[in-house]
Amino acid sequence: MRRFVEAVWLVTRKDLLVEARTKEIFLTTLFFALSCVLVFAFGFVREGRAVGDAAAGILWIAIAFSGTLALGRAFERERQGETLRALLIAPIDRPALYLGKLLGILILLAAVEVVVVPLVALMFQAALFDHALLMLGLLATGTIGFAAVGTLFAAMLVRARSRDVMLPVLLYPITVPVIIAGVRGTAALLQAEVDVPMARAWLSMLVAFDVVFITIALWTFEPVMTE
């Protein structure tokens, strides 16, 4: 178990070190997420007030779109030098490799969300921090669910010629429940009469999605990567 955790951390730390040096994924993902929010703000904010549940939807669209960008680039790096093959030959459990990549992507997306969430709150006058713990729970579980599926698909597609097109095509239909749960849970916290029980129900659903998605990904990663 200790060796497993060490392997996870080695892969994550390597990804973070590479990213700290290049800042390539962080900056492109952040720029893309900010562009999303700003473009939607022009369309959905009238006289300083956001239309309906726009803030919740736009926050999760920004996370999903920028997350897809990050997932693609994270594995593109492993493909360029074929370093993924070196990791697959190494004597580490392949689920550890999956979790290491997933953790690296999650830390990156968390950093992007630190900027994007306050921007959405500001642009849409959304009370995203009134129930901060619940909002944090929704963001964390939603991002984990999205990235868990995305990491598996990005790894599967690393050798596919049309991977940039295929990743969103495969990823969005599978992660629709996560995005819906994130949007509805966030909307429940932003409406005029805050519905905390409803937000908690969506949070529970996200936790269930995370457990299912991560379990399936851990189970399938080894056979998928061997072939």
Partner: protein
Amino acid sequence: MGVDFSTLRFADVSRNYGRRRALNRVSLTAGAGSITALLGPNGAGKSTLLSIAATLLRPTSGEVLYGDVSLRDGGAALRARIGMLGHDLYLYPELTAAENLRFFARVYALPDVERRVDGALAQAGLSDRGDDLVGNFSRGMRQRLALERALIHEPRLVLLDEPFTGLDEASRTALRARLEAVRRAGGIVILTTHDTAAIAGLPDASVSLVEGRLAA
């Protein structure tokens, strides 16, 4: 941690990609302290055979045995005894030479990581470039570093895919010397090439693959 073995045996190994047969009933044995060259044109199945030996691909049919251990049963313990150098070198250009070696040494859970890193840098002739980014290295320097990366855990089986491609004469001579050292240490070396001049006098055995079959 690793399993040890003194032979690598392919028994009637075939591999299909969809309807295309990349390898067709290949049988081959390589022993400890030997260098085997896989020759043949592009698309002959050389890289597929190496990928199977590296546990990256499963054969469609047939058996691969590392001593008494089957490819199907080997797992991480078997992979710990395999080193591979691909045409793409398997290095992170954003990391320094020392960071690349340190990362892989830790992935292999090796003891004395810093000593091994220093030794590998010295062996690659890069002791004074350890803190430089690999992305700034020449092809020859990256190739030498990549070879030491593949050998840092002292593997029993060393798999090299077109290792002489793009090297100048000095780098080729250095690579030959390093492979001879691996052979003397009891390693099983299998390399692919379509440049027979580069390996003249080096391999103990050469086999040709043509359209997935071993040529007579």
